[in-house]
Amino acid sequence: MQIIVNGEQREVVNGLTAAQLVEDMQISGQRIAMEVNLEIVPRSTYAEHTFKDGDKIEVVHAVGGG
């Protein structure tokens, strides 16, 4: 299935979980936040949250800013 992660289209296995995506992005354990189709996905639910085809996902972190 296809999902969009931070604006980039990705082909992923059906039933990919949020935890697996974070691992693929090599950012597990970091302070991040995730939004799927404009809804927040709490970090505590990454293991059970499965994506659907066409999901629009944003993964963000804190950067320098004023």
Partner: protein, 264 residues
Amino acid sequence: MTEIVQDTPLVIAGKEYTSRLLVGSGKYKDNEETRLATEASGAEIITVAVRRSNIGQKPGEPNLLDAVPPEKYTILPNTAGCYTAEDAVRTCRLARELLDGHKLVKLEVLADEKTLFPDVLQTLKAAELLIKEDFDVMVYTTDDLVIAKELEAMGCAAVMPLAAPIGSGLGVQNPNNIRFIIEELKVPVLVDAGVGTASDAAFAMELGCDGVLMNSAIAGAKNPILMASAMNKAIQAGREAFLAGRMPRKRFASASSPLDGTFF
């Protein structure tokens, strides 16, 4: 030394702060410079932006929150770069998740790329939505008293009028407007944006501001760590001068030494 300064702490959303200088974390060379400058500034509140994580980011890539840990500082996520109320609210929700339920946010909704002036209509809309969602909103706005009062009435935790355009370093351009806001509002009023050097910060504090938020003035200095230290002192000096109450201005001279007892 006896304590000569009798000041009350700065209280924002029920939390007390000793430092009245709030700093940004943008535009630094690296995280180490951010860490050292923040330390030298004495600030307890530091703003951060929320941005996309890189796909395939290196696992060891330095994280800003390691340099300025939330255990040590109050992290103030901003909505910089947002041009609509919806984007600002989205950003704050992500920030709250990122910072484990943290409620304090800096709301800024911009309108114009050249001046980075706030869009007050979108700002009012976003503030209303965020307050409904139980955020504590420190709001960046114009130096307009009427809008500032409206933001206070809505329940914003602090109102932060600009001194001058973001990153311009021009100093307080309209002190009279800033003074109106300080005099009329009960919530903390902080000058946010436009300060260029230590005297600008001291001047803002002498007007009676509760604090100053700055980023470029420190990060854009040739020696940011030294400037952070200068700002730390300027904010304290300005605050003390405000509390002390300045002497009245006179048009002509008034001798400091007595005229009696002269022998010439």
